[in-house]
Structure formats: structure tokens, C-alpha cells
Amino acid sequence: MDTKLTMHVNMDDFLPATEEEKEYMVQMRPSSTFFKDGIKRLLKNHVATVSFIVIIAITLASIIVPMVWPYSYDNMLGVNPGKPVDASFNNLHPFEYGRTEQKKLDAGEAVFPHIFGTDAQGRDYFIRVVYGTRISLAVGFFASIIVLVIGMTLGSVAGYCGGKVDLIIMRIVDIIYSLPDMLMVILLASVLKLTLTPVIEGTALEKIGSNIISLFIVFGVLYWVSMSRLIRGQILSLREQEYVLAAQAAGARGGWIIRKHLLPNCISVVIISTALQIPNAIFTESFLSFLGLGVNAPMPSLGSLASDALNGISSYPYRLVIPAVVISLIVLSLNLFGDGLRDAFDPKLRT
């Protein structure tokens, strides 16, 4: 081995590094944000990914299919203006045809099939299921948004202000929390239905129907409490952070601090609990529809379809099974996706 025992240092060892050498030393990884990290974890969770695809597929189908389908959800096929009601269209089994349709078929014309048959009033059942899915999804989505807005506002105000405001809001939350929610929902829905009908007559809201509006009101009144509790807890710990103090020192007002500093930091909690709220809302809507307090006829929802199907259950059990399967599929995939979101974005929340 050629070792130089000399005090003279080799000056070559102290030359500035070339660009290549520098690049070799720097181990850069593309910078990852909190959001990207979460998405990566979410995609690794196959159950959640599949659930998400199922939800997207069902949602898209419920939006697109009614646009291209030749029948509409409230079109009674046997009823034509100026002619007697043709009862041969009522209660068709899947892929059967009404009398006039059969004639057309015999003449060689093409008739669009009734994939799930028709219901007791001669309406194409497939499109009713699709439309019912759309209504159920929309109700679930908007109800969750209402819960989100109210819960977030009150929760963040309670958490940030503290003191008396917090005390009052949290006592209200305690009481609403201990109310038996379903009973109150039924009570409010059954009364609001009557009070709202004359109020909204002639307005744009009439199209939505008094029952759905009362459902939204009930959700807004009763279900914001758990969301506001959650957000209050988050804000309580976040507001002790130094950057809040810095913002306060710089003269920022309360509303600004809540909006710009506190809420963005608990956004993952908010998204997760909203995602888990949607199946809950769909559940409640279908339950109310089943009791006859849901959507106004002739508008279908998955719950009201199942409820209507009970009347002819011995002859047409598939009319119950179809909406039942759809509703279970939606709720199951939303729940699984929500769980996946929670695991990916906030593992601490896991219970």
C-alpha cells in the first residue's frame, strides 16, 4: 500500500466539487405534501379504491342514464291522452311488453326493453331505480353539506371564543346529542311536511318537495352536533399554537384567524367526517321514505321504492331486492371509502 507519511496535504482533495459530484451527493426526493401522502396511502388501500370506483360509477350512471333512457320516471306507459288506460302495461315482468309494444314488435319494429319490468302504474322500473338512486345520493350529499356548514361554523366559534360562548354552545350540543335522534326526525318530518306545503307553494322550492326540504331542516337542526364537537376539539388544541399568537400580534381578527389558520389545519377531520355523514344521511332518508315521510310522489327514492314494493312482495320480490341491493351497495362503499380516508389522512382518529 502506498501510504505517504508526510505532513504535506494533497491539495487535490480540497478542490471545489464539480457539478456532477454535487449532484451525486444530493439525494433529492420529489417533495411530498400532506395531501399527496394521504392519496398515496389511500391508493394502497384496495378496498377503499374499489369502493371509490363503485361510488363514482353509481353516481355517473345516475346522472347520465336518465338523459339517454327513452322512458321517464313518472311516465305511465299505459296512459295516453285521448285513449282508455291500457292496463297491459302495468306490473310487467322484466323484458315483457305492453300490448301496443307487442304489436310494434310483431310488425318488426324495435322497442326498448323494460329491463326490470314496470311497476303497478305502468312506469318503467329500471329508470325509477336509477332516478331513485340519484335522489338518494343528492339528498345524502346536500344534507351532509348542510351539517358541515352549520357544524363547522358553530364548532369553530365555540372553540375559538371559549368562555361563555363555548359553554352555551356546548350545553346546547349536549342536549341535542342526548335527544333520541330518529324519534325527533320522525316527529319534525311529520309536522314540517304539513306546515311547509302551503309556504313553498308556487316557489322554486315546490319542485323539490316539502318532504325533502323538511328532511334538510331536520338534518340542519339535529345532526350538526357531532361535527361541531369534533371541530371544537381540534380548534381548542390548534389555537394554542404559536402561529395563532403571531397572527393575533399582527392584528388579525378572530374570523380571519379561524378561516385562514385554524380551519385549514383541521380540514382532514372535516372531510373524513363529512364522507362518513353521507351514508348516514342516505340511511335516514331511506328510513323516512319507508315510513312515508320521504320524497313526494311520484318522485322515487330508493327507500320509497322498497316501501312501495312491499305491497306486491309475493308476486314481484325483485322490485324490493333491486333497490335494497343498490342502497346497501352505496352505503357499504361509502362507509368503506370513509374508513379508508380516515386511515389515510388521520390515523389518530382510528377507533
Binding site: 333520541p180 330518529m182 324519534l183 327507500g303 322498497a306 320480490p317 324490493l320 346497501s328 377507533t351
Partner: protein, 309 residues
């Protein structure tokens, strides 16, 4: 029991009383907000008859006076007034009659859910990540996602219509089998998951390892140490379970035509029998509030380490 626990219990009791009062108040004022008033049927009646009716039910008095009379009657005598649709019957009698069937249904369903749920949960925990565990978890996930009216209707289609094994009508004892199963499935699935996770938690504790090291038999470890301690979180589910069974019975009794309080409630909504709606809401709400109270206090007493604040 220390003073802190006592303070907590006292606070919970006060909150429960407050809740019951809020329920009665909301129910009263919501019902009075109904157009035409709660005691009006849809039949048109003469002004004189209407005045007589109003005088009979005290509707001509100021609202606050009516409210305090109602509150007093409910609290002291459980008097919810007469039913509108079932002439000559008091609401409380109808509730009492329906309660007999519903209570039987609910209690059996609750016990079934508890026993099967704990057993399945324990098996799943002991066979963690094995085939049995996976099957149990998949099945319970499915049950948790199905609304009770769907489970009930599907059971009805399968067992009564397709197979013809059990009657679809819940008026006989044999006919109560399907409603009981329907009511029990969701809480059973929930308890299974609860027991499994808490059992897994307990099995990882130091005292289980110590017991194993001492040479305690596996049977004794499972039943004497693990299961006993993993049942504590299940206590908290008693209240929500009752709430679920009460609301579940509304649809289940409807599907299977069980002559219970749930069906009476639903038909009173469709008939607009307001005194009946008020009475049933208050009775069922009280039941749920009391059960929540009991399960919370029990939880605190069984495991004083738990801080419930």
C-alpha cells in the same frame, strides 16, 4: 366510589331529566304548530262542535297554560289524553298494550345480539387474521351497512315467500322469529366488532402475558382474564342498542305486521293521530334516555379509570 364519580352520576341524571323535559317541550310546541291544531281531524265540523271540542280539550286556554297542564298530566299521571282515531281509548293504554309485544321482541333481540355478538367477537379475536376472523368481519361489515327495513324485507322474501318456512305475519309466537332476527342482526354485528377490537386490545396487555407465564390454562385466561375485561366497552353500547331497537322496531313491526308500539306509532303518523304521536315519542324517548343514563353510569362504575369528560 369516590366523590368525582358521584358528581359525574349526579350531572348525568340532571342532564337526563333536562333531556326528557326538552323532548316533552319540543313535542308539545311542534304539535301545536300543526295547521288546524292537533285535535282536529280532517272532517269538516261545525263551528259550535269545534268550540265544544276545544273547550273539552282545553284548547281555548292560553298556550302556556295548556303547556303546563300537559306537562303536569304527563309527569304526574302519564296522561297523554285520548287517542283521536281509536275512539274512547286513552293513548297511554294503547301504548301499554303495544309495549307488551314490543318489549318481548326487543328484549329477546337484545339478548340474542349480545350473546351471539360476544361469542363471535371473541372467536374472531382469538383467530385473528385467520379464515374464520375474515369471514366474520366481512359478514358483520355487510350487516352494519344494511338498513333494518332492507334486512327485514329480504328475510321476509327468503324465508316466508320463497322457502315458506316461517310465517310472514308477526301476530303468532312463531311469527316473531323473523322480526327478532331482523332486529338483532345490526346490534349483533356491531357488538361482534366491538368485542373483537377490545379483546385484541386486552390480549396484548401485560397481565395476560404474566398469566401465560405463570402457566394458567388457556381456558382460564380467555374466560377469567380476557373476556371479562374486554366486555367493558360493550356496556357503553347498551344505550345506543336500545335506541336502535326502538327505531328499528318501527319498520320491523310494519314489515311483519307485529301488533306492537312501533306499528301503532307509524300508523298514528299516517293517520295524523297527534296525541298518539306525542305520547309515543315521549315514552320511547324517555326509555332511550334512561337506558343511555344507565349504561353510562354502569360503565363509569365498572371501570373508574375511565374519564368520561
Amino acid at each position: 366510589m369516590n366523590s368525582k364519580t358521584l358528581y359525574y352520576i349526579l350531572k348525568r341524571i340532571l342532564l337526563a331529566i333536562l333531556t326528557v323535559w326538552v323532548v316533552i317541550t319540543i313535542t308539545f310546541f311542534v304539535m301545536r304548530a300543526v295547521p288546524g291544531g292537533p285535535f282536529m281531524g280532517e272532517k269538516a265540523i261545525t263551528a259550535a262542535a269545534q268550540a265544544a271540542l276545544e273547550a273539552k280539550y282545553g284548547l281555548d286556554k292560553p298556550l302556556m297554560e295548556q303547556y303546563f297542564t300537559y306537562l303536569k298530566d304527563v309527569v304526574t299521571k302519564f296522561d297523554f289524553g285520548p287517542s283521536l282515531k281509536q275512539r274512547g281509548r286513552m293513548v297511554i293504554d294503547i301504548i301499554g298494550d303495544g309495549m307488551k309485544t314490543s318489549a318481548r321482541l326487543g328484549v329477546i333481540a337484545a339478548f340474542l345480539a349480545l350473546i351471539v355478538g360476544v361469542v363471535l367477537g371473541a372467536i374472531a379475536a382469538l383467530r385473528r387474521n385467520k379464515f374464520v376472523d375474515k369471514v366474520i368481519m366481512v359478514v358483520t361489515t355487510a350487516f352494519v351497512s344494511m338498513p333494518s327495513f332492507i334486512i327485514g324485507s329480504l328475510l321476509l322474501v327468503l324465508f316466508s315467500i320463497k322457502l315458506g318456512l316461517l310465517p310472514a305475519n308477526g301476530t303468532t309466537t312463531k311469527g316473531l322469529i323473523l322480526p327478532i332476527i331482523t332486529l338483532a342482526l345490526y346490534p349483533m354485528a356491531y357488538i361482534t366488532r366491538l368485542t373483537r377490537s377490545s379483546m385484541l386490545d386486552v390480549l396484548g396487555q401485560d397481565y395476560i402475558r404474566t398469566a401465560k407465564a405463570k402457566g394458567v390454562s388457556p381456558v382460564k385466561i380467555i374466560f377469567g382474564h380476557a373476556l371479562k375485561n374486554s366486555l367493558i366497552p360493550v356496556i357503553t353500547y347498551f344505550g345506543p342498542m336500545l335506541a336502535y331497537i326502538v327505531t328499528g322496531s318501527l319498520v320491523v313491526e310494519q314489515i311483519f305486521a307485529v301488533p306492537g308500539i312501533g306499528r301503532a306509532f307509524v300508523s298514528s303518523i299516517t293517520n295524523r293521530d297527534y296525541p298518539m304521536i306525542m305520547g309515543t315519542t315521549i315514552v320511547l324517548a324517555c326509555l332511550i334516555v334512561i337506558m343511555n343514563l344507565v349504561s353510562d353510569i354502569l360503565y363509569k362504575v365498572v371501570d373508574p379509570r375511565i374519564n368520561l369528560e
